[in-house]
């Protein structure tokens, strides 16, 4: 069951071009990898959706790309500050896969460290747009890493069952290569729990709420 709690920031670390935000876990469940939390972004009206990146008994950690006012406000938090956190939300990855391959593009690597922990060390491939962004691969030590102009899709062996998260063009490419792949999508979200109908995406030709049906969807 998702809960909403006011949690304290326990750490804020730069990881290459990204930021790892650690919160004390309180009574929040980490949920299934690929599920997400809505984090209060100080000074903004709406919370922001973030995938859980790491979970420990005492902490939940989120990997952030500061792309706008909400993520910037979250990256500017300081230890001791408190924000409301609501989750876990949505449907995560199915973990009953025999030959998993984790595929991440850019900030799409965010859910993979927690996913890897829960799967017990699956192979992973990551693509980044610069060396600086690629430093975040340190959070997934055994991953194979490419930097643009090389694309992460070059590293995908279709013999594996792919669990992927990344920018839309990457997910479309993965879907085309690997039917049955589990893909974690993004959409603008106001609520994260089915209330606003803002996160509509085309699922099999119908507009559906990504926060309810996803964010992880199976490639057709």
């Amino acid at each position: 069951m998702p809960r909403r709690e006011r949690r304290s920031v326990t750490g804020v670390e730069r990881v290459g071009a990204y930021t790892l935000l650690r919160l004390d876990r309180g009574g929040l469940e980490p949920g299934v990898p690929g599920q997400f939390f809505m984090l209060e972004a100080p000074g903004r009206l709406l919370p922001r959706a973030l995938s859980l990146c790491q979970a420990s008994p005492g902490e939940l950690a989120f990997l952030l790309d500061a792309v706008g006012p909400g993520t910037e406000a979250l990256c500017a938090l300081e230890p001791g500050e408190r924000i409301h956190v609501f989750g876990p939300l949505g449907n995560g990855f199915r973990l009953d896969v025999e030959r998993p391959l984790l595929v991440g593009g850019g900030i799409g690597m965010a859910p993979l460290p927690y996913l890897a922990t829960r799967l017990g060390r699956a192979p992973a491939v990551l693509g980044f747009r610069s060396e600086r962004h690629a430093e975040a691969a340190a959070l997934l030590p055994d991953a194979e890493v490419v930097v643009e102009p090389r694309l992460v899709t070059e590293l995908i062996d279709p013999g594996y069952e792919v669990l992927a998260c990344g920018p839309e063009p990457m997910l479309h490419a993965v879907a085309a290569m690997c039917p049955g792949a589990q893909l974690a999508w993004e959409a603008p979200m106001a609520c994260g729990y089915g209330a606003c109908y803002g996160c509509a995406v085309d699922v099999d030709g119908e507009l559906k709420r990504l926060c309810v049906e996803g964010p992880v969807l199976e490639a057709a």
């Binding site: 959409a187 089915g194 606003c196 109908y197 803002g198 996160c199 509509a200 507009l207």
Partner: protein, 275 residues
């Protein structure tokens, strides 16, 4: 004072706990035919509010009656059905098909409906003819003479008013200067709307004395009290539910032991009413 959700701001089936924390659940507006809604992106944040261009996404009357309504009844929460359409007959047919619910809210302010006073009154009259259920007319504040519209729907048989719907608004992407919403414009809700909502409730209460469900930017107990002082009997939470699903409970705590019956209408006592 009953605390409700604003139509389109909660799905009781995906969040039954939130629905049960309210004194009534208001459905998203139901239209005769199913609607997918507009293309995404259909939400955007503004400095002090949000925009939506959901476009009345809903399963349509038949599927709502057959599938959603029976499930909603099981929640045990009083149900308000928001009814939409494009001509008076659309509304009336849906009203005629409904019974055994707390109230019907006629969404007279959806962007594709002509909102002139006549037409709003016509819709209310058509619905009044086919149902004995309490009929609330939901209006937008975007009218040069809101009291005229309120009086017209009252004369046509509305039992109450729901105020306010969103205002037309727009937000641009900082780099491209293109609209953030695929549809261009959308409905502005949230804190920016609160002063407008207070004025609309104040005007319409003075004009009609009908029971009013007040809404628009409510985020805290204080906002509920202000709406009640302006003449709202009941209050609905909209945008705040997106950031805080626990808002119904919190808002009740914040109201505390303020005597809302005593507060009711106090904003009419001293000031020259402006209607």
């Amino acid at each position: 004072m009953r605390l409700l959700n604003a139509s389109g701001c909660l799905d009781a089936l995906t969040a039954p706990g939130v629905a049960r924390s309210l004194d009534g659940f208001v459905t998203k507006t139901i239209t005769p035919l199913p609607r997918e809604g507009n293309a995404p992106p259909r939400i955007a944040e503004t400095a002090y509010g949000m925009l939506n261009a959901i476009g009345l996404a809903n399963p349509g009357r038949e599927r709502f009656l057959a599938e959603a309504l029976p499930q909603l009844r099981e929640l045990g929460v009083p149900l308000w059905i928001s009814v939409g359409g494009f001509v008076a007959a659309d509304y009336a047919e849906t009203c005629a098909a409904l019974e055994d619910v707390e109230a019907l809210e006629l969404n007279l302010s959806c962007p594709n409906v002509d909102e002139a006073a006549d037409s709003a009154a016509e819709i209310v009259a058509a619905c009044r003819a086919v149902t004995a259920l309490p009929l609330y007319a939901k209006l937008s504040a975007a009218h040069p003479d809101l009291s005229e519209v309120a009086r017209a729907v009252a004369a046509a048989g509305a039992d109450g008013l729901s105020l306010v719907n969103t205002l037309r608004g727009m937000a641009l992407h900082p780099r491209t200067h293109e609209p953030v919403l695929a549809r261009g414009q959308g409905g502005l809700s949230g804190p920016s709307l609160k002063p407008v909502a207070l004025a609309a409730v104040h005007t319409c209460y003075a004009a009609t004395k009908l029971p009013i469900v007040g809404m628009g930017g409510v985020a805290a107990g204080r906002d509920v009290v202000d709406l009640v002082a302006c003449g709202a009997r009941d209050v609905a939470l909209g945008t705040i539910l997106f950031s805080d699903p626990d808002a119904p409970t919190r808002v009740r705590v914040e109201i505390g032991d303020a005597d809302l019956d005593e507060v009711f209408g106090t904003a009419h006592e001293s000031a020259a009413v402006h209607a």
